[in-house]
């Protein structure tokens, strides 16, 4: 089997999350791997348009997988125009996801900036399902403004089992906003990680991850307990096209989730 | 009544025709070429001699080769470079392929739709297929020696930087042989259309039979060398048009292009082309400018044969010599698809152009075209307005004018 040969998939459901983000529930043909883990990604695309790496925002659920996509460029803008019932192509799963085995039995701190919540959603789902396997679980979630929050209708269910903290850079709707305003680093003091027992998963724009990780270290966490998910340009997803190379790592194969210790201070990165 | 044809579609560049009719009489008619000037002769000053052919190519997207060949010839004369026979042969092949390709575009894309009272060629499927077959082969010839068909790059002062492989040349020949039938069909198609009767008086001017002679002749007894071009022709500016217009000194309007070439040189054409001319009743002197289309179709038949002969004669040797710099002045006249093209350069000792002068086929034709339009309108004032407009446009298109060239 050609590792680059995509499989056909059908869009079963499309949900508008924000103005430029939609969640696609996708039915894939039988050959697609059953072994998906949170934090992994697919190469998603359409013939003639190309492919782009997109994280799973949900793993197998009712025979479907989920992708949450922001329309920013050639591939994503094209996907944005598709309708339910349309076909698209995908291949995967690729990459190393979140180290769930390391997190098990410990406190877990999830920090998501913007669309970063998408690759953490499968983690949240897993935590909700086997809540007892984890200690205290907190989710810090930041967005530009209220209109950019993802998965808002799921928050209530999440809150029942984990602590959820929200912040926006600025509140714009004029509706009462009962949460924080300001950078996500401002939420770090709300969770007070148990420095030895906590494991942190951080994902968002690289500059945001930089300051969150530094904040966590300043509060006593060890770099080895912090995990980040990197974004790089990718054309193949299988460590061959070279686009995602980051100082010798293939982000697609060695990541996208890395221990912070491994990727901090590398040239051309911001961490 | 005023008739403004704001722009004439399906010609190269921008031009308009304005008629004023009063009391059943044509009061005035003006052909205004409003193509904006780009000032080639102005900015050529200060450029290096070897840039000139690449620059002048951009005067025209349909006959870049004609401009390149002419400027190269003038510049080589200025620096005292004598091209090898092989180089001369290939340049001729380039010119021929360009003349044919230009005629094909003109006949099919620009002129043909009129005869079917269509806005454009779409819908005429058989014709489109024939056009594309011919285009493929003809552009292939230009591209094989020039690198690409439009604005070729391998044709430079000093020769051709690279030649195609021997078997490519073989393929070009068989390609040309393959479109002989299409060329005949093209002539049959064009000659089959009814054209308005129109016999304006003008002087037909062309190069004498041997295209590389640089000797200009006419049906009024003109005979002059390209170096003495300035003594025989005169250019003047018009207040209502960006294109200048050229006259034969002391006489008046002239017509250049396929019709003039055939009127003057029919007997030097390849026998198949002569036979085709006979068959379709083309017997000089032919004065009707609408017959220019027929002349073009006959020329295609001839050019295919001449091109094949030249391709056969290629040796693959002596195709490029790096030219040495020298101060000097050079003029050249060649036959572009649409007729006489004149380039003149003065180079300083660093090889920098100090002065450039370019007179294009359309500049030569402008006055006779305007006169012919006058006559056409005068004689057809009774036609319905739309038909009169169409006939005026058809006449302009028959001349195959290149307004971009004429203004440059």
């Amino acid at each position: 089997m050609h590792p680059l040969k995509p499989a056909k998939a059908v869009l079963k459901n499309i949900r508008q999350e924000t103005a430029d983000v939609k969640t696609y529930t996708v039915q894939v043909d039988g050959a697609f791997s059953r072994e998906l883990s949170p934090g992994q990604f697919n190469m998603v695309g359409y013939p003639g348009v190309g492919e782009a790496p997109i994280s799973f925002s949900s793993l197998w659920e009712d025979g479907c997988i989920g992708h949450t996509v922001r329309s920013v460029g050639a591939v994503t803008a094209f996907i944005d125009k598709l309708a339910e019932g349309d076909e698209l192509l995908l291949r995967g799963p690729y990459g190393k996801g979140w180290p769930m085995d390391i997190a098990k039995g410990r406190d877990l701190l999830l920090v998501a900036g913007g669309l970063g919540l998408a690759p953490l959603r499968p983690v949240i789902r897993e935590v909700l399902q086997s809540r007892d396997s984890f200690g205290t679980v907190s989710l810090l979630c930041g967005a530009r403004n209220e209109k950019n929050l993802l998965f808002t209708d799921e928050y209530e269910a999440w809150r029942k089992k984990i602590s959820l903290f929200l912040t926006v850079d600025e509140a714009v709707t004029g509706e009462p906003w009962g949460h924080s305003v300001g950078l996500i680093t401002g939420l770090l003091d709300r969770v007070k990680p148990d420095t030895a027992g906590t494991c942190a998963f951080v994902v968002g724009p690289e500059i945001m991850m930089r300051f969150v990780c530094r904040g966590l270290m300043l509060r006593g966490m060890q770099p080895a307990d912090i995990f980040v998910s990197l974004e790089r340009r990718m054309k193949c997803g299988v460590a061959q096209c070279g686009h995602c190379q980051h100082a010798g790592f293939f982000v697609c194969r060695d990541g996208p989730v890395f221990p912070y210790a491994q990727v901090t201070g590398l040239m051309d990165g911001m961490l | 009544m005023k008739i403004d044809i704001d722009y004439i579609a399906r010609v190269e560049g921008e031009g308009s025709v304005k008629l004023e009719i009063a009391g059943g009489k044509l009061k005035s008619l003006k052909l205004n070429i409003w193509e904006p000037p780009r000032f080639f002769e102005g900015f050529m000053a200060g450029r290096k001699f070897d840039e000139a052919p690449d620059i002048v190519a951009r005067i025209c997207g349909i006959c870049p080769v004609a401009h390149m060949v002419t400027s190269i010839r003038a510049i080589e004369k200025a620096i005292g470079f004598v091209p090898s026979d092989e180089i001369v042969r290939i340049r001729r092949i380039m010119s021929l392929s360009q003349i044919m390709a230009s005629h094909v575009v003109h006949l099919y894309v620009l002129a043909l739709p009129d005869y079917h009272r269509l806005g454009m060629i779409t819908g005429l499927d058989a014709e489109i297929r024939r056009l594309l077959r011919m285009k493929e082969v003809l552009n292939g010839v230009t591209a094989a020696f020039g690198g690409r068909a439009l604005h070729p790059v391998a044709m430079v002062v000093g020769g051709f930087t690279k030649l195609p492989a021997r078997d490519t040349v073989g393929k070009l020949i068989s390609g040309l042989e393959g479109i002989r039938g299409d060329a005949q069909d093209t002539l049959k198609m064009i000659a089959g259309f009814d054209t308005p009767l129109l016999e304006p008086e003008t002087e037909h001017v062309a190069l004498s039979g041997d295209a590389s002679s640089g000797v200009i002749i006419s049906d009024c007894g003109l005979r002059t060398d390209e170096d003495a071009y300035g003594n025989a022709f005169e250019e003047s500016e018009l207040s209502y048009s960006n294109a200048k217009r050229t006259v034969v000194k002391g006489r008046g309007s002239l017509m250049v292009g396929a019709l003039s070439r055939l009127n003057l040189n029919l007997d030097t054409l390849h026998p198949t082309a002569r036979a085709a001319a006979r068959e379709h009743g083309f017997a000089p002197p032919v004065k009707n400018p609408f017959m220019n289309n027929t002349a073009q179709a006959i020329e295609i038949i001839h050019c295919i044969e001449e091109c094949i002969t030249l391709l056969d004669a290629l040796t693959g040797k002596e195709h490029f010599v790096r030219p040495a710099l020298r101060e000097g002045t050079g003029s050249a006249v060649t036959e572009a698809p649409r007729g006489l093209l004149y380039h003149h350069y003065e180079l300083n000792r660093k090889g920098v152009v100090e002065k450039a002068d370019i007179v294009t086929p359309t500049a030569h034709n402008v006055l006779s075209l305007e006169e012919a339009l006058h006559k056409l309108a005068r004689e057809n004032l009774d036609l319905p307005r739309d038909e009169l407009v169409l006939q005026c446009e058809m006449l302009v298109r028959a001349y195959d004018p290149c307004f971009s060239c004429s203004v440059h």
């Binding site: - | 579609a9 921008e14 000037p37 840039e51 806005g119 690198g147 790059v153 690279k162």
Partner: protein, 256 residues
């Protein structure tokens, strides 16, 4: 599926881009079949210059004031507008005029300048926002194809942005600059021509214009080391991209 409505507009130029699109490229018949030609003077009599257009292709340099007004109208009536060809993208050959005093250049062509109303030559994006650039003189087959098929597929086109050298190496040409010291502009020129000139063993003269990441001063230095004079170097960098050379900091080239 309805065919996208195409308008083709010519400003000051050789019209080569329009011929390239409808005649010289590899798929003219398919192009004519895929688009509804709403306005294109060179191939269509009549038509609707006012649009609306799904795609407007604009060729030519803007050299007269009415063209800028026309251009703004076209922009308003077009969903997508691509600049096509060196003239529209970079200023191209007509922009050479800007390198010398205006009246001097014009005076070399016309004795009477009073009917002449040229403005300084600029590429189209000096006046309007452009959705894509189809570079080259004439435009390259690959980018032109990408532009047209992207519109048909309703996706964002991916144009080439690397140096001509990349295409040159893909073809396996021996580099004429490094091996033979020919002053090739390939290293600073935007790809798209399939390295035509070096393949024909002549130096690239940059008809696709400078690529965005070009290091013009560094190549100028190389040319100096090959013995080119300052004016020769300046001429090389301005042939198709006088506008960039005049108005961007890429130009640190002197005259001697």
């Amino acid at each position: 599926m309805t065919r996208p409505r195409l308008g083709f507009f010519k400003f000051s130029c050789c019209a080569g881009c329009e011929f390239q699109t409808f005649y010289f490229q590899k798929h003219p018949a398919e192009t004519l079949a895929a688009f509804e030609i709403v306005f294109a003077k060179m191939v269509l009599r009549g038509g609707a210059p006012e649009g609306p257009f799904d795609l407007a292709l604009v060729e030519g340099t803007i050299t007269e004031a009415w063209q800028a007004d026309e251009l703004k109208k076209i922009r308003k009536s077009s969903a997508l507008l691509f600049a096509i060809g060196a003239c529209a993208v970079n200023g191209g050959i007509p922009a050479l005029k800007a390198l010398a005093p205006e009246l001097e250049v014009e005076g070399k062509v016309y004795k009477n300048l009073s009917p002449i109303h040229s403005i300084r030559p600029h590429p189209v994006d000096a006046y309007i926002q452009v959705d894509g650039y189809i570079r080259g003189c004439p435009p390259g087959e690959r980018d032109l194809h990408e532009a047209l098929t992207s519109v048909l597929a309703q996706k964002k086109p991916g144009f080439l942005r690397c140096a001509v050298c990349v295409e040159c190496k893909l073809k396996g040409n021996i580099c004429i600059l490094t091996a033979y010291g020919m002053p090739c502009m390939g290293p600073v020129t935007n790809a798209g021509c399939d390295a035509l000139c070096p393949t024909c063993k002549r130096p690239c003269y940059s008809c696709f214009g400078l690529m965005k990441q070009a290091n013009a001063p560094a190549l100028a230095k190389k040319f100096r080391s090959l013995g080119l004079s300052e004016s020769d170097i300046r001429r090389k960098f301005t042939l198709f991209d006088a506008d960039a050379a005049l108005f961007s900091k890429a130009d640190k080239l002197n005259e001697d």
